[in-house]
Symmetry: C2
Subunit: 332 residues, 2 copies
């Protein structure tokens, strides 16, 4: 195990650090039970509005881009909410920021441990590498927690994270875009789409929220079909940010509030990433471009129930692009 210390990119009142545990898959039961007794879902419009007020000074208000060419290609009016321009290059900063600023002083002093495919943010943070095995990840996490007394923060199955991600749709619906009929959101563990769906449907119950998911990691589609959380023994997709499975807090929201899950093949995802690059001029990773792939897919275009979705918001995130993927698609 080796330690690499990141740079301080932002001055905040928080003296504690966020410790990022890469490639670690511990799943925590947070305050789930107690919350679920009082409210139907793990978060709601109030917790999302509170998050918005809390994180506003620390986040970027990300712009919405549009393109006549992509409108023509899709046959819809598309509004791209560019969370790839968020601090840290992805929407994840919102939830992390909300969670950290929700801590009391005592917790904050001890720090936070979370895990991610790529942990990023603008706080003081420290990346701790573990061996890519479950045993190593668990022992590394346990060791850091024991040594630091830090709070363990689940990357998506957490009220504070869901609420933070939900600020995206609050912000989108407040921006100068026409009335939206639908929002398309990448789905992985469900934190992002849970927050987006809770906020958007609270503001406009008629709005539809669609998940975009890779064929090779279609656990959410299978879960919706089966009516319970399905996990997969393996996943296989270029969208490596979308390999997580639903949690017990995100699943009820996805089950009840997500109007459809659009699965797309890797070649459709790569094509969408290229279109983002060539037409929108935005660098977005496969996991972040999947929303565009979904609205361009035959299954979406040909679904008669969704024909009336004229104005569609698409969440683009994040920006950790492996340039080689685009390059290979040109040269192979």
């Amino acid at each position: 195990m080796s330690f690499k210390t990141g740079k301080i990119a932002e001055q905040t009142k928080l003296s504690a650090g966020i410790f990022g545990l890469l490639d670690c898959t511990i799943v925590l039961k947070m305050e789930a039970e107690s919350q679920m007794r009082e409210i139907k879902y793990a978060a709601d419009i109030s917790s999302i509005k509170e998050s918005q007020a809390r994180i506003k000074p620390f986040i970027h208000e990300t712009p919405v881009l549009s393109s006549e060419t992509l409108n023509l290609l899709s046959g819809r009016q598309l509004f791209f909410k560019c969370e790839c321009f968020q601090k840290g290059g992805a929407f994840k900063f919102r939830g992390a920021c909300n969670a950290v600023f929700s801590l009391d002083d005592d917790q904050a002093a001890k720090g936070v441990v979370t895990h991610s495919r790529f942990s990023s943010g603008s706080f003081l943070w420290m990346v701790i590498w573990s061996e890519p095995t479950m045993q190593s990840r668990e022992s590394t996490a346990a060791k850091v927690l024991q040594e630091t007394g830090a709070v363990l923060l689940h990357p998506y199955n957490d009220r504070r994270i869901i609420s933070g991600q939900g600020t995206i749709s609050l912000e989108l619906l407040e921006q100068q875009v026409p009335h939206l009929d639908a929002i398309v959101v990448p789905i992985s563990g469900g934190g992002l789409i849970s927050g987006v769906a809770l906020a958007a449907k609270s503001i406009n119950p008629a709005i539809r929220v669609f998940a975009a998911e890779p064929e090779g990691a279609n656990d959410a589609a299978q879960s919706k079909e089966a009516g319970r959380i399905i996990t997969l023994s393996e996943t296989n997709t270029v969208a490596d940010g979308l390999r997580a499975f639903l949690g017990d807090l995100t699943w009820p929201i996805v089950r009840d509030l997500v109007d459809g899950i659009i699965t797309v093949e890797d070649k459709e995802i790569i094509n969408a990433m290229k279109l983002c690059y060539e037409i929108l001029k935005v660098a977005v990773e496969p996991s972040g471009a999947i929303g565009l792939a979904a609205v361009l897919s035959d299954s979406f275009k040909n679904n008669p129930a969704w024909k009336d979705c004229t104005n569609i918001g698409i969440i683009l995130s994040g920006g950790n692009v492996d340039l080689g993927i685009i390059w290979d698609s040109y040269t192979k």
Copy 2:
């Protein structure tokens, strides 16, 4: 000579076409003399405000991005005005749009001929290829003009073009950015920086306007030094959009209102392009990234006269990226 017809990407009231002549270097004397007698420069804040009202329905209001990482690297607060997200992928759409909508019905019916390294826009347009020789370009242009009766529009040495480009700084200074001490603008023929300088200094006479120019095409720097327009027998730079020379309308504005010309080497331009891609998540061509290269250059950082430029606007444009340039820089 062959003809290729582009697609219609935008419905406008204009029935005429813009004919784009690629790689053609005819320089026109427009209404220069008559204008110069009445006003000091070819355009002014009034013509720029008129342009803004004229083109507003047809252009994108482009977002301003910022990055703590790039602020740290530069030692300043940088505000990136992303004209690479403009329709057609560059600021040029503003000037072209203003010029076309300034035509009377009779002129509009006959169309407009202009020339550019890469002619783009969202009108009905037609690309006419000529041989890459001066003789061929001139004869091709003359033939098209004779056949169509079209208006010949200079790509930068024109009041309407300068006024259209000037709307960028009006827009930037109206957006939610702090008080700017300076704006850094790529310089080629001077249309963009002329408009930007006229508008910005009219709003805030203390603001400084800097040009960013490649070492291998430093005609503007030489012109400022010599006090007259200098043209070069050859240019050599990766920023192939910045090879044009100042015109008789842009030169007086550059001479009087541009506070400094920062020349940078190609390797600095490529590095800036990579930073835009990796950190801002924006696809921008070398010519468009040069403003960032300028503020990161030693000559800018170490100039004591410019130390007090804390908040700096940088115009990023355009987005016609040859991916191979970035890729090569990683692999070589």
